[in-house]
């Protein structure tokens, strides 16, 4: 048994884990700063220079708060809920190719934890399992607002999963593979999938917003109707886990959008520069993260631009508009590939 791949993968998993959590923490700061910028305010500026220590202060506050478990709640499931939600949020990062391979003393280090040939299906699977965290958490709280929030959140996620899965099929048809690393390799230079799949991208983007329970689809925690949605009864770090996992989801969704539609780590003209392998690899990682950060910003931008949907509008959009459009997209892409190309 070779030990090198195991050490290599373990190190990579640890780094990605820390980066995901770090980015999620600073997304909370960025969200408040972006909100402040869009609303012509200053935003957090007390903790550290420019308020940069704000996420750490928030984290400490979350840990220090008293932990309350409702006496009528199912304690085990109450704790299991946030665990599952956080775990599935982090699990998706396993199949994302973060950059070109590094060369460490002759050993090729692949910057992707698992290059499985069903990468896209794996993403769909983890997204569908993530629903359990919300459902169990909302149900176990033994509170009708929590239960209603959980039912709303899970029916929303299930409805938008369909259109999301179908919108990816167009990309799969073009790149001829289910493996994310192949999909990214196929978009070398400027052959980004967004050019060939604008409709697919739009559908995927809308569904990503709905899957992350982000505004304008944040009906699950619609405070005017449901107090706090599925995490009404949660306090302390368990609440923190739910809120934090939402930011992890946002980061991973942005990374996925970049992988599937915006060329992943590719950048026009990067091959013409003739850089040494390691330099090219590091630049590709930087490019990947720059694109991802843009989409995280986009998530926040939309939040302060579009008002929240009503519940029937949400369902109508999902089932009567996005689903037929994504089916049309699949048929159109297949026809184009068969008859034109």
């Amino acid at each position: 048994m070779e030990w090198l791949p195991i050490i290599d993968k373990s190190v990579l998993i640890l780094i990605i884990f820390l980066i995901s959590l770090g980015i999620a923490a600073y997304s909370t700061y960025a969200e408040r700063k972006v909100a402040a910028f869009l609303q012509d305010r200053i935003g957090p500026n007390r903790a550290g220079p420019f308020g940069l220590l704000q996420p750490i202060a928030d984290g400490v506050k979350m840990f220090m708060k008293e932990e309350i478990i409702p006496s009528a709640a199912d304690k085990f499931l109450f704790m299991l809920g946030p665990c599952i939600f956080m775990m599935t949020a982090l699990m998706t990062s396993a199949v994302i190719p973060w950059g070109k391979p590094l060369d460490i003393g002759g050993y090729q280090m692949n910057l992707q934890v698992a290059d499985i040939n069903i990468g896209v299906l794996y993403i769909v699977a983890t997204a569908s399992v993530g629903v359990y965290g919300i459902m169990l958490g909302g149900w176990a709280s033994n509170n009708k607002f929590s239960l209603l929030g959980a039912v709303r959140a899970s029916s929303q996620m299930i409805s938008y999963e369909l259109a999301m899965g179908l919108s990816i099929i167009g990309v799969l048809l073009i790149s001829n593979s289910l493996s994310l690393s192949d999909i990214v390799k196929g978009q070398e230079g400027f052959h980004w999938n967004i050019i060939y799949q604008p409709l697919g991208f739009l559908i995927f983007l809308i569904c990503a917003f709905a899957e992350c329970n982000r505004a304008p689809f944040d009906l699950a925690e619609c405070e005017t109707e449901l107090v706090g949605g599925y995490h009404t009864e949660y306090s302390s770090m368990k609440l923190g886990m739910f809120l934090f996992a939402e930011y992890v989801n946002m980061f991973i969704s942005s990374a996925l959008i970049v992988c599937l539609f915006f060329g992943g780590y590719n950048f026009p003209g990067i091959d013409n520069l003739d850089l040494p392998q390691n330099v090219a690899s590091i630049i590709s990682v930087v490019i990947f993260f720059a694109k991802t950060f843009f989409f995280i910003f986009f998530f926040m931008w939309i939040r302060w631009t579009i008002p929240r949907f009503r519940y029937d509008q949400l369902m109508k959009l999902g089932w009567q508009i996005l689903l037929p459009l994504s089916i049309f997209n699949v048929v159109a892409t297949a026809a184009w590939l068969t008859f034109v190309k």
């Binding site: 069903i118 299906l121 569908s128 959980a150 289910l178």
Partner: protein
């Protein structure tokens, strides 16, 4: 290595399957069943059938069990275990279940036994191979089952329209 994983997965599968039956609360039964499905998916991966494993998770753990959970959640069956079934029903259930078990046991008893050796680099379970098989050799059953699913969808829409 693969052998130890196999044993660990098998223990989890059997224990969670037993828990589905013996759990007092239907909520826990559903969750144990999800765990059971995941460990079965693990077995598929060990057999190098990645596509089957992931579809198993998407369809069973991701869709069907969510439906189960919804029903259990909204009916709130978490109260006292149901004691309304009469003695006769219990005896009947025990006999029919026992008969099924006996039939399974007998059919397995006469089947061939031996050690099955997995080919070193088998990629039958990969997406390309499954797809080629489905759309060449088994295209008729595949299409028939898709028509069956379509008719189920149409049926459920018709029923839902009638209710509304």
């Amino acid at each position: 290595m693969a052998q130890y994983i196999f044993y660990a997965l098998s223990i989890v599968t059997i224990l969670s399957a037993l828990y589905v039956v013996f759990a007092k609360s239907p909520m826990y039964s559903v969750i144990a069943m999800i765990v059971c499905f995941f460990s079965i998916a693990g077995h598929y991966v060990l057999l190098n059938a990645q596509f089957l494993a992931i579809v198993h998770i998407i369809v069973y753990a991701g869709a069907i069990m969510v439906l189960f959970l919804f029903v259990v959640m909204l009916l709130n069956l978490n109260q006292e275990p149901d004691k309304s079934h009469g003695k006769l029903l219990r005896v009947a259930a025990a006999i029919s279940g026992g008969m099924l078990f006996l039939v399974l046991l007998l059919s397995l008893n006469t089947s061939e036994t031996g050690t099955f050796v997995l080919p070193e680099k088998s990629d039958i379970g990969m997406v390309e191979h499954v797809g080629k098989k489905l759309f060449n050799e088994y295209v008729l059953p595949f299409e028939i089952s898709s028509v069956l699913l379509l008719s189920a969808i149409v049926g459920s829409v018709v029923l839902a329209k009638k209710e509304a």
